[in-house]
Symmetry: C2
Subunit: 351 residues, 2 copies
Amino acid sequence: MVDSKIKLPKIPEFDNAAAARARLRQDTLTKPPGSLGRLEPLSIQLAGIYGSSKFSVANKSVIVMAADHGVTEEGVSAFPASVTRQMVMNFLHGGAAINVLARQVGAKVVVVDMGVAADFDRSDGLLQHKIAHGTRNFGKGPAMSREEAEQGIQTGIRIMESEIGAGLDLVALGEMGIGNSTAASAITAVITGQPVSEVTGRGTGLDDHSLQHKIVVIQKAIEVNHPDPQNALDVLIKLGGFEIAGLAGVALSAASHRIPVVMDGFISSSAALLAYKLDPAIKPYLLASHLSVEKGHRAILDHIGLEPLLNLDLRLGEGTGAVLVFNLIEAAARILNEMSTFDKAGVDNKE
Amino acid sequence: MVDSKIKLPKIPEFDNAAAARARLRQDTLTKPPGSLGRLEPLSIQLAGIYGSSKFSVANKSVIVMAADHGVTEEGVSAFPASVTRQMVMNFLHGGAAINVLARQVGAKVVVVDMGVAADFDRSDGLLQHKIAHGTRNFGKGPAMSREEAEQGIQTGIRIMESEIGAGLDLVALGEMGIGNSTAASAITAVITGQPVSEVTGRGTGLDDHSLQHKIVVIQKAIEVNHPDPQNALDVLIKLGGFEIAGLAGVALSAASHRIPVVMDGFISSSAALLAYKLDPAIKPYLLASHLSVEKGHRAILDHIGLEPLLNLDLRLGEGTGAVLVFNLIEAAARILNEMSTFDKAGVDNKE
């Protein structure tokens, strides 16, 4: 059994007073109360996170963590493992979907090598924090050591602290790693208690036969490793990935600094799930951007108790859905800060 | 019986060849095919509308048409009719939700008086096309004359032609008019054949008792007026509004110039429904932005055969949901134009 204790930053309480002020303000704005639907509770949640009903979401980043997965040797992905390194280069050259969508919303893309099974030049503009050249194959034993898992989490925390030091207001969790939907499904099955077959999807595009094989690989991995569902660190060590460890750290650090954490799809949400199990105080700081096609995603959102804002049949990852939701977050913030009140605009209120 | 013939601009065919080129390009971009979900068919639809897989959505407007409704004298709205004029002033001063959301996406807000029951100064920056000081109470007879209905449609067409002449790429339909959800419900019931009670909602916030009254008023109005469900012009004359007539004209004109028409909520969609009945060739040019809380909205979308992109429990109107979707449209366009291909980025494709 792994000792479940790990040093983590303290997460402050959600500011109910600031949220209440935002709620009151919403009802003075020139619109029927509640008519902006989910933008209204979103603005109220943001106020409670920031501890102020006046807040800025100007400085936005998506932290895209990349790593490889030893379990790919079991044949669980439609794409070859070489693609992890190639896509990191694509991120650095600005040609991937996350680059395009981040440019649209003025968000910075921070690309981190957490454990890609290939080396990069120092000159690439990449944050180099490689823990190892990919995890070990968790079909045969633990994916990583306890030291590696802690190093992953602490790396995420330090990267986030550096971003926050530079004035960050809002962060999205992004990832790249061939094989990482296998890790996310294994983590989700263990922590939520759902059957593996209910939380395992096609990833980048498996056919029916390969999907069945992926399910068997995950079932076997859970048998071999005996992870303790009550111990998130144990689950991470046995079934996780280095990018998943890092993103859990990013999420915990962001919440500890009152920065909203925008989850993307299934894999980034499995990192948020581990963060939530490590410290449930993170919950009010989490925003579920969209519902992925990957079927395990709903189990994670239900387990934490979150409702996604978008349902666009996305299943890419990289942080793409999270960055799309930056638009809605900015809209919610602007509504609260820029709309006129009934009094100021001289508009008659409800009869 | 009203003659159903009216002179309308010719709508060109959707460009299937351009759509096919966009589809091919999507499958060469560095992502698993289909992984960007609804952004992919959205980009393909846009290519077919513009007649090119290379298109720009840089110049965006929301046309917000305002008018009053005689039927408000039956007590069908939670807000007093005075609010229509006051909200028009709020639009002109930039303090309404639509102003805030349009600023976020760089869209121009074009405010048009189609029939507000109050006068405005010439200096207000308002497009003044008042047909009358509100419609007549359709609980007692037709809302407008045939000449007024045609004038409404032609005004919408002319306004759109002027916007397109100035370089417009993308248009959203917006509206303001106390009482106009009553008109939209009446139009929807007649054209879709649904019972009035199934397509009538709380508008700006009616209680249960007032909602029942609103349903009875609409049922009586349909009995009194005997609109012909096969004749959209007849339905508009008997149960419509001047802003609804104008927006139908805007939609028809936009489609005739290969400009995508982004519908907002229930009222703007009732205008799109009339446009669709006047010329079904408009259908591929229509984009359903969101699903409104107003229960009649789903009946309209089902009747035309459209699926909304967002479901955020919005019920404000003004074009707010449509302008939020400008972000997704821009995202779809950028994905198609800016992402790298597998070949160019040197990324291995699916095994």
